[in-house]
């Protein structure tokens, strides 16, 4: 991990509040692994003060891509970045998705959770049978479908909560049938907490190996501030940034925090 000033190559508006940031970050691009995240800040100024965490969408030396949604002043400042602007980059951070070969893997993404899942697809598709369930609130929240098509997925299942595009439903709507039909052995998911809670309810304990990549409010990103606590089933807190962000689904206490 390194803390450095990098250069924005492109900051493309995708839809609604979603953007794709491309930065020239050689160290990051060389060292990031699928599942890792980065902390970004638009300037060295003091407001916003802290960097914000983002799952890595993809890398191709010397470039890194970050797909993000504007949710507050930190991400709004990042959305204002233009080509050639400096950006503060700390990374790569956190653990990675486990490596698999010859498995039937189901990836599940909710909304902006597609970012690290995209990187996982790139990693898994060459040596595994990879399926994707991708859901979002409505049409404008379900982006990058064309990009996903070229990644070697065996099959892709797309949903919107309101039915404004693709199938109306949630990522959990048909998940048990999909797992059975395609003999899924492993699931890897990323999305909002509510999605994880439904997922844990639907597929926890049905025999698949389930991994999740969590999102949390973070202060530092490298384990020193203890802000990103998540409760485990052992009734302890773990740090999403340095113990995760990738955890076994069974390890997390989903209901109450």
């Amino acid at each position: 991990m390194k803390d450095e000033t990098c250069i924005v190559i492109e900051n493309r508006h995708i839809s609604k509040k979603y953007y794709m940031l491309k930065i020239k970050a050689p160290y990051l691009a060389e060292n990031a692994k699928p599942g890792n995240f980065v902390m970004l800040k638009a300037s060295s100024g003091l407001d916003p003060l802290l960097k914000r965490p983002f799952g890595v969408f993809n890398t191709n030396y010397p470039f890194t891509w970050v797909y993000y949604e504007v949710v507050g002043k930190g991400t709004a400042a990042i959305a204002n970045l233009r080509a050639d602007d400096p950006v503060q980059v700390l990374g790569p951070l956190g653990n990675r998705f486990p490596a698999f070969t010859g498995k039937n893997i189901l990836l599940v993404a909710g909304g902006r959770g597609i970012a690290p899942i995209h990187y996982a697809i790139c990693d898994y598709a060459p040596a595994n049978n990879v399926f994707l369930i991708y859901g979002a609130r409505s049409a404008g929240d379900l982006n990058l479908v064309e990009e996903l098509k070229g990644l070697g997925l065996k099959k892709m299942f797309l949903y919107t909560d309101d039915g404004s595009a693709y199938q109306k439903g949630f990522v959990t709507t048909d998940i048990r049938r999909i797992i059975a039909d395609h003999h899924i052995e492993v699931t890897v998911s990323c999305g909002p907490d509510a999605m994880f809670e439904s997922l844990a309810h639907e597929i926890g304990g049905i025999g698949t190996e389930n991994w999740v990549s969590l999102e949390a409010l973070m202060g530092c990103g490298f384990g020193i501030c203890y802000s990103c606590a998540v409760k485990t089933t052992a009734d302890e807190y773990k740090k999403v940034c340095s113990d995760g962000p990738v955890f076994k689904m069974e390890e997390i206490a989903w209901q109450k925090q």
């Binding site: 991990m1 803390d3 800040k41 060295s44 003091l46 407001d47 916003p48 003060l49 802290l50 960097k51 002043k73 930190g74 503060q88 700390l90 949390a216 409010l217 202060g219 530092c220 490298f222 384990g223 020193i224 501030c225 203890y226 802000s227 990103c228 606590a229 998540v230 409760k231 302890e236 807190y237 925090q257």
Partner: protein
């Protein structure tokens, strides 16, 4: 450089190579930062506050960013004193920079027990007494909110330990200089201030406080003017060294705290936002001193012209 800049600081009981001391809770246990820069460049560093037993900390959310500031309600999560001893041995093996242990307690007895544990560790240079911990027997009030309690506690620690004692004051009391004086009278070797200012964040959608404990501690650049005022008032009141902190992010900020009376400073929230901040601040401090023709911090300490 025309003149040689001397960044060293003499606190009387210890000599520091420079005045930059990362503050408790913003620097982990030190070792995490070795990946970013050698710990040897620092004046000293303070470990995350420690109680006798492991503590889980508060339920999330634990932080909320404000305008140029940060509210936190971490709840002093930590591994307990025995585990920290092992960590300190590890950290001490990678640096010669003085290590400061931030001593916490839910009762005066626990404060003393924790202080004694680290008092006998040769790897520890200074004990910082965190008197902002809610005290079970005082109905949740912290010692720092009561000059008599502060006096009793500091006296008890000083009578039973050998190491230099830094007493860290809370700004959340009406007469901070009086509490500082009580700490000095009880034998404190130096004072550090300020801890975080209590504040409230509101979740408009839920019409509820953001934090389950309602109050949280505000840090970062937003509190710098408030911290400067209190450091100035305390430095005028006591004769022992004062370590100033509150929103320091630059070499210039360091000099401002020295001008109002600080002998050295602690850096806090900036360490989270920018892990290499210490490197930059030390460099900026040297450059700013040269630009202002200051060769040693003692030349300007407390020399604010009125």
């Amino acid at each position: 450089m025309a003149k040689t800049i001397d960044l060293s600081v003499d606190l009387g009981f210890i000599q520091l190579k420079n005045p930059i001391i990362p503050a408790s809770g913003t620097f982990g246990y030190g070792e995490e930062f070795q990946a970013f820069f050698p710990l040897d460049i620092l004046g000293a560093f303070v470990l995350k506050g420690i109680y006798k037993n492991p503590r889980k900390g508060n339920p999330p959310p634990r932080i909320h960013e404000t305008a140029a500031g940060l509210l936190n309600s971490i709840g002093l999560a930590g591994p307990g004193a025995e585990e920290l001893k092992k960590i300190i041995k590890r950290t001490a093996s990678i640096t010669n920079t003085p290590i400061i242990v931030n001593v916490c307690g839910e009762s005066d007895e626990e404060y003393l027990e924790v202080a004694k544990i680290f008092d006998v560790m040769e790897e520890v240079s200074i004990l910082e007494l965190n008197i902002s911990c809610p005290n079970v027997k005082a109905g949740g009030k912290c010692p720092a909110q009561d000059r008599d309690h502060t006096f009793r506690l500091v006296k008890q620690i000083k009578e039973n330990t050998q190491k230099p004692l830094m007493v860290k004051l809370s700004p959340n009391t009406h007469d901070v200089p009086a509490v500082a004086l009580a700490a000095q009278e009880a034998g404190a070797d130096c004072i550090s201030l300020v801890n975080t200012f209590l504040g409230v964040a509101v979740d408009l959608k839920k019409r509820a406080p953001v934090f389950k404990n309602v109050f949280a501690g505000l840090s970062g650049p937003a509190i710098k003017p408030l911290a400067l005022k209190l450091v100035w008032e305390v430095a005028k009141t006591v004769s022992i060294p004062v370590i100033g902190m509150g929103g320091i992010t630059s070499g210039k900020d360091v000099l401002e705290f020295v001008l109002v009376g600080a002998s050295a400073v602690q850096t806090g929230t900036i360490n989270m936002a920018e892990p290499c901040a210490s490197v930059r601040i030390i460099k900026e401090l040297e450059e700013t001193m040269e630009a202002l023709s200051i060769t040693n911090l003692s030349e300007i300490k407390g020399r604010l012209k009125l």
